[in-house]
Amino acid sequence: MNVHTYEKVWLIGALVLIVGFIVTITYGSVGLGIAMVDDSEETIEPSELDEDERFADPRVEQVGENEYEAYVVAQTFMFQPDPVEVPAGSEVTFYVTSRDVIHSYSVAGTNINTMVIPGEVAVMTVEFDEAGEYGVVCNEYCGSGHHTMEGELHVVPDEEFDMTELSVEADDEVETGDEATIEVDVENGMLEALETTVTLEIGDEALAENVTIDGGETETTTFTVDTADLGEGDHDWTVTVDDYEDSGTLTVVDELEEDDDDE
């Protein structure tokens, strides 16, 4: 076959270019370790996500010192959890699945981007070096409200990050002279133990207790308040643990109504 010299040169150049591209991509995979979303996860029944260990409660979980896993569910037209909160300097593995149609989980302006196909679980491991707030969009058409499907990803500074959860159970109404109890549950979702102080402010009083909560554990602190000191009336209280706060009102009455005792 008669091929012009210039054309031969062009042809060789073209092949070099093509091989060059393939080498570049291969370097990205092998050298830089950019793995593709693949078939490493078992399939899952979209209708049974509520019974699934990982996806019944979409959340972020700490699995190593700086390692986290995020279980995300996409559905028309929202993401759970929202926002996803992780610390800077961590490595986060996202597991994303869909409850209904095909969506995507795409963090705007980054290379965190995957299709979310019902029946499949997409896995991506991402390193977050710096703190920042990102928007998450669904970039696959999923129905008439597709454009409203959005979420957020918060990468918070390491020292500000925790997975502490606070819940308080307190008496609403007590008789003067009785003791009121305020029970504070502090859950530490991190792996490391948490040393902190639980404080209660009520009326003019301030009570504090130092606690150490092991990783993954919940510690209960019970405060008892003598209502005689408070006197009759409404008293606002506030429980504080680190940056978390819960508050309510305790009513001290002269005499409780009958039916309360019967229960």
């Binding site: 591209f21 095909i102 795409s106 196909i117 696959e140």
Partner: protein, 589 residues
């Protein structure tokens, strides 16, 4: 009496004319939906509900990339076969038969889509051009697509019949180049459409009729892309044909090399299909190895396009030098820039070069994370199908119209303005789309603005990008208006006796230089099939094994996952090796 196509083939000219008018009707509808979309998305003018945006988007996609392109293709291919074999179609009723089937098919699909605008019926098909399950359209939508595709299959049969009849009379002759291009393109199309036919006939149509309860979304999606990538070459091949056989002629010269043109079309036949998984780089449920194979195949698919770039530019230079052009770049001035047919095609080719670069980014497996499903991709295919293909089609229309109507073109200056306006409009729109995509702005959304965050542009602003997109959209719409003015104006003209002859470009290096094996269509088809089997058998088996034929809880395929993986990795190296040798085989002859 002149020597125009309509003089030699009056009956065929009517077929080509009807196909072109069908194509232009689709272009008009698609264009109207396009400008509605542009103005809605950018927020400049929103008169439809955002929920209806997706119906508009479906109509824009289906009318433009299915009906506009493919009706034009069947017109060009019918012209190419009859002209280059110098014989009319074998059976005119059969020809009108496939045209009718295509027309009925697209009407059914079109009605199903447009019915989405009204609540008067339950019919709708706002599932976009990709119709990914579990999104479900009315059965009429799927049925229409099937009929349309079957129509194209029969059109291919028609062209093969012409060739067989011609071959019987001319046993020792080489296949004329335009016919060769038609036949290789159709062979590619037959292989490619098996995917969409299986997706619709086995899964989506029975599912939409309620005959089966569920489908495996990853499976139907993979079958779609089995078809969805080669379909872009189906749009592109008629444009390539025009660059090879028309552009050299209007430049004033000859095609640089007939043999290399054949090599290019053979490469498209064998490499177009085993690449579809590159649309699924970010799909869970497909192993990385399969994605890697699709990536290497895709990169080798750059070869025929790079070869085309050389041949087209070389042919243009030859033409320019015949017209007295001189110097390293001075010959560019000698090209017929006042001719809309030339200028339109040259600008389309230029845009295609730009599209090639954004396409290489898309094809880069791990780079794809950054751009997948963003507005970047929309920018990319508005350069490929939206300019390389559409602008070439519009430019050659100015040559074809007199040939198939027997009437002089209404206005050459309006035509020239039209092609330039398209180029300018698309430069604004596509450039801004690419840039917006890099910020993470998604494609396929009615309102790319969110409550919780804003897109941040490193250079310029989102507002500026939106303005460029809207401006581009308006210029493109104006360009379309000029185009239709010329089509209608020409149709209203009287018959002319002074029309150019129905000719295409000669060659500098003719078919006598091309090895005979290039015309061995059976061999190339066999290689194409083998490559498809290599690239797709294991991904498909694996998807079925994982998720079941009809959905995740059914597991009817008795192939264990481990076996599939083992075999896939063993094959991976073979396939890559085979591809390289095939690519070399093609060019070394």
């Amino acid at each position: 009496m002149s020597n125009a196509y309509i003089d030699d083939f009056p009956a065929e000219a009517k077929v080509v004319r009807t196909a072109f008018y069908s194509s232009f009707l689709a272009l008009a509808l698609g264009g109207v939906f396009g400008v509605i979309q542009t103005l809605h998305r950018t927020g400049y003018y929103r008169f439809i509900d955002s929920a209806d945006y997706y119906t508009v988007l479906t109509a824009h996609g289906v009318f433009l990339v299915i009906s506009f392109t493919i009706f034009f293709l069947v017109g060009v291919f019918t012209w190419a076969i009859t002209t280059s074999l110098d014989r009319g179609v074998e059976d005119l009723r059969f020809t009108w038969g496939w045209y009718g089937l295509m027309a009925i098919g697209i009407t059914l699909s079109g009605v199903a889509i447009l019915a989405g605008f009204t609540d008067a019926t339950d019919i709708s098909a706002s599932v976009l051009f990709t119709f990914y399950a579990p999104l479900q359209a009315h059965p009429m939508f799927y049925l229409g697509l099937v009929l349309f595709v079957v129509g194209t299959w029969l059109a291919g049969v028609d062209w093969f019949r012409s060739w067989w009849a011609w071959k019987a009379e001319n046993p020792d002759e080489r296949i004329p180049l335009p016919t060769f291009m038609v036949l290789t393109t159709m062979l590619m199309w037959y292989i490619a459409t098996l995917g969409v036919a299986a997706a619709i006939l086995v899964f989506l149509l029975p599912w939409s009729l309620g005959l089966v309860e569920s489908v495996n979304p990853l499976l139907t999606r993979t079958l779609f892309w089995f078809f969805g990538h080669p379909v872009v070459y189906f749009w592109l091949m008629p444009a390539y044909m025009m660059w090879y056989i028309m552009l050299p002629k209007v430049s004033g010269g000859k095609l640089f090399s007939d043999p290399l043109a054949r090599v290019v079309f053979v490469l498209f036949l064998i490499l177009s299909v085993p690449t579809g998984i590159h649309h699924q780089y970010l799909d869970p449920g497909i192993a990385e190895g399969f994605k890697f194979i699709a990536m290497t195949n895709t990169m080798f698919l750059l070869l025929p396009s790079l070869l085309t770039a050389f041949t087209v530019v070389a042919s243009m230079e030859h033409g320019a030098r015949q017209r007295g052009g001189e110097g390293y770049f001075g010959w560019l001035k000698a090209l017929p820039w006042r001719d809309p047919v030339f200028t339109g095609m040259a600008l389309a080719g230029l845009m295609f070069a730009a599209a090639g670069f954004s396409g290489m980014i898309n094809a880069g497996m791990n780079i794809n994370y950054l751009v997948h499903n963003t507005f970047w991709v929309v920018g990319h295919f508005h350069l490929t199908v939206g300019t390389a293909v559409a602008l070439t089609f519009m430019a050659v229309t100015y040559w074809f119209l007199p040939q198939i109507t027997g009437k002089a073109l209404w206005s050459r200056s309006v035509a020239l303005g039209q092609v330039v306006l398209w180029f300018v409009g698309m430069t604004f729109m596509s450039n801004a789309m690419h840039r917006a995509g890099l910020l993470g702005v998604p494609r396929r959304t009615a309102e790319p603005q969110y409550d919780g965050f804003e897109f941040e542009a490193a250079v310029g602003t989102m507002g500026e990008l939106q303005a460029q997109i809207a401006l581009g959209g308006i210029l493109l719409t104006l360009s379309l208006v000029l185009f239709f003015a010329n089509v209608v104006g020409t149709a209203l003209n009287g018959r002319s006796d002074d029309l150019p002859a129905n000719e295409y470009a000669g060659t500098l290096s003719g078919p006598e230089d091309a090895p005979l094996v290039l015309d061995n269509l059976k061999l190339w088809t066999a290689i194409a099939v083998v490559l498809v089997v290599f690239a797709y058998t294991f991904p498909l088996l694996s998807i079925i094994d994982r998720g079941g034929l009809f959905g995740p809880d059914i597991n009817p395929f008795p192939v264990s996952l481990e076996t599939v993986h083992l075999l896939a990795f063993a094959l991976e190296s073979h396939v890559t090796g085979a591809l390289e040798s095939v690519a070399w085989l093609g060019v070394n002859r």
